[in-house]
């Protein structure tokens, strides 16, 4: 298993945001994490990436217990995290944003080449000198993803990456993730069910902080509990 959690819990002022979650993600998988708003998805990945300290439970990365490691050390082990609320360096150029993500492992010409490749991949190469704040929202999302993939992480955590993207951009995003997934394990938090069904090999459904169900897209689609709790009764509901 590349990533596992054991009994991972977080309590905010007596409220159980996440309760005893056991997660197992093998290397190479695209795993989607879904659930209604307030199900604890962002809190859960916050504990995995080290942004939030768990109340109890453990996190393992590649067999190593990383529960006590600060966020930056976890990233160095090979995790990358893209923020739900776009969090690029607004005052810096597009290329510098991606360079900062890559400079931890590369310098000089190799850095340049890798940054160019990542920007080309997300289609932002011709905007490389613009300030990130001048990009359209959809492009800022793509910049986030470029900053994620340029780190060549072993585990890429994408927190609601398609939020605010247009239809055409979503299609491109799906291709992009599929393209990256041959060398990166992906944990995808996503509201757009079409994207989830398209990409995920397995889906974990979180409800009220606990795992409600887990399985292949077909299994989750057919699961009565999930439909009741989350998808509604319609068969191809686009939950928001």
């Amino acid at each position: 298993m590349l990533l596992s959690t054991r009994g991972l819990s977080k309590t905010f002022a007596g409220l159980h945001a996440v309760e005893a979650v056991d997660l197992n993600i093998p290397e190479g998988e695209i795993r989607a994490l879904i659930g209604p708003n307030g199900a604890g998805k962002t809190t859960l990945v916050g504990m995995i990436s080290g942004r939030i300290a768990p109340s109890s439970g453990r996190v393992f990365f590649d067999g190593e217990d990383i529960t006590r490691l600060p966020a930056h050390r976890r990233i160095r082990l090979g995790m990358a995290y893209t923020f739900q609320i776009t969090s690029v360096f607004a005052g810096l150029s597009v290329a510098e944003n991606v360079s900062l993500a890559a400079r931890r492992r590369l310098r000089g010409k190799a850095l340049q080449a890798e940054v160019d490749a990542a920007l080309t991949r997300v289609g932002l190469q011709d905007r490389r000198t613009q300030d990130a704040r001048d990009l359209a929202y959809g492009h800022q999302r793509l910049l986030e993803i470029a900053m994620g993939i340029v780190q060549r992480p072993r585990l890429l955590i994408l927190d609601e990456p398609t939020q605010g993207l247009a239809e055409g951009e979503i299609a491109e995003f799906v291709n992009l993730v599929r393209d990256v997934s041959d060398r990166t394990t992906i944990l995808l938090i996503e509201h757009n069910m079409r994207v989830v069904m398209d990409l995920a090999q397995r889906i974990t459904v979180l409800s009220a902080g606990a795992v409600l169900a887990e399985g292949t897209p077909a299994e989750i689609h057919a699961n009565a509990d999930v439909q009741a709790a989350y998808l509604g009764r319609g068969s191809d509901a686009e939950a928001g």
Binding site: S49, H72, R76, S87, F89, A90, L92, L100, A101, R103
Partner: protein, 310 residues
């Protein structure tokens, strides 16, 4: 390379001015260059890393007293005394950083302000050693560095230029290095930097020690070149000055601190010829600047003419 050429150009102009300026302005400019070195140290922390310290007088004074007390009480010659000043600054800023960097924003300002105030009171408290408010003079004979008498006008100017040039080039190199770019990124979005795998605390600590070290070196040089060490330089006023200079000249630009220091120095100098309320003139200038060029002189140059200005 273009950036280095422009900054080297400024140094060349300053060298040319050495031979052409009338004595009065020649002396002023030597003073401005040393104070601008202090401001550049401040700028590394404030302008580039985004940490607003209100306690840099502590580092300036640590350098000045490290040097001055070394000469006065340990009988050091100028070179080791300067080094002692630099080392005092690095140690003091390292210690303060370890404490103050646990806070951020307004709390960071208050913690640095309080520790600097404690430093100032310490200087007064140990008056027998430091001569307190009155301070002490470093005699001409104690100011001969490698056979060069630093109390002589010409030598003093060249020494100030050497210090200034070193600080300028180190700043320029630093802010364009991988390390410097992470500092800028911390200023822009600290949380994102952490989630890119950088140790934010370690970077801030290093930035504060480099900033404090540069401030201390400037303080030591100031005491040595102008022959006086006193508690005024540890007072809150000297924590506010570099902030004003940097804001005027342009925070987060390499040339800004010099422009700001020069501008403010002459503003006060000319203003005090006109009226005793010369600080009023400085205040009006600051208000105008905030209204019309909030990013400072060089910040405005960067915005309008050259986006890549370091």
């Amino acid at each position: 390379m273009r950036a280095y050429a422009i900054h080297a150009g400024l140094l060349a102009i300053l060298l040319a001015l050495h031979f052409t300026l009338p004595a009065y302005h020649h002396g002023n400019l030597a003073r401005v260059m040393v104070l601008a070195s202090y401001a550049m140290g401040y700028n590394l922390l404030f302008g580039y890393t985004g940490l607003l310290s209100l306690g840099h007088a502590l580092f300036f004074a640590a350098g000045m007293y490290g040097m001055g007390l070394g000469i006065q009480h340990l009988g050091l010659s100028p070179a080791p005394a300067l080094l002692l000043g630099l080392a005092s600054g690095a140690v003091v800023s390292g210690l303060l950083a370890a404490l103050a960097l646990r806070t951020s924003g307004v709390a960071f300002m208050i913690v640095t302000l309080m520790f600097a105030q404690a430093g100032y009171l310490t200087v007064l408290y140990f008056g027998e050693v430091t001569r307190g408010d009155e301070g002490f003079v470093i005699q001409q004979a104690q100011r001969v560095l490698w056979g060069v008498d630093l109390s002589a006008e010409g030598n003093r100017y060249i020494a100030a230029l050497l210090l200034f040039g070193t600080c300028l080039m180190v700043s320029l190199w630093l802010v364009r290095s991988a390390f410097g770019r992470v500092l800028v990124a911390i200023r822009e979005n600290e949380d994102r930097v952490r989630m890119l795998g950088y140790d934010v605390f370690a970077h801030k600590l290093a930035a504060m020690m480099i900033s404090g070290g540069m401030a201390a070196l400037a303080g030591a040089a100031y005491g040595l070149l102008f022959g006086y060490v006193g508690a005024t330089f540890a007072s809150v006023q000297y924590s506010i000055f570099p902030l004003l200079w940097v804001l005027l000249g342009g925070a987060g630009t390499v040339l800004g601190p010099f422009i700001g220091t020069l501008f403010m120095f002459y503003l006060i100098d000319l203003g005090s010829d006109l009226t005793t309320a010369y600080m009023l003139i400085a205040g009006v200038a600051l208000v105008l600047l905030t209204l019309f060029a909030p990013q400072g002189v060089m910040g405005e140059v960067r915005r309008r003419f050259w986006r890549e200005l370091p």
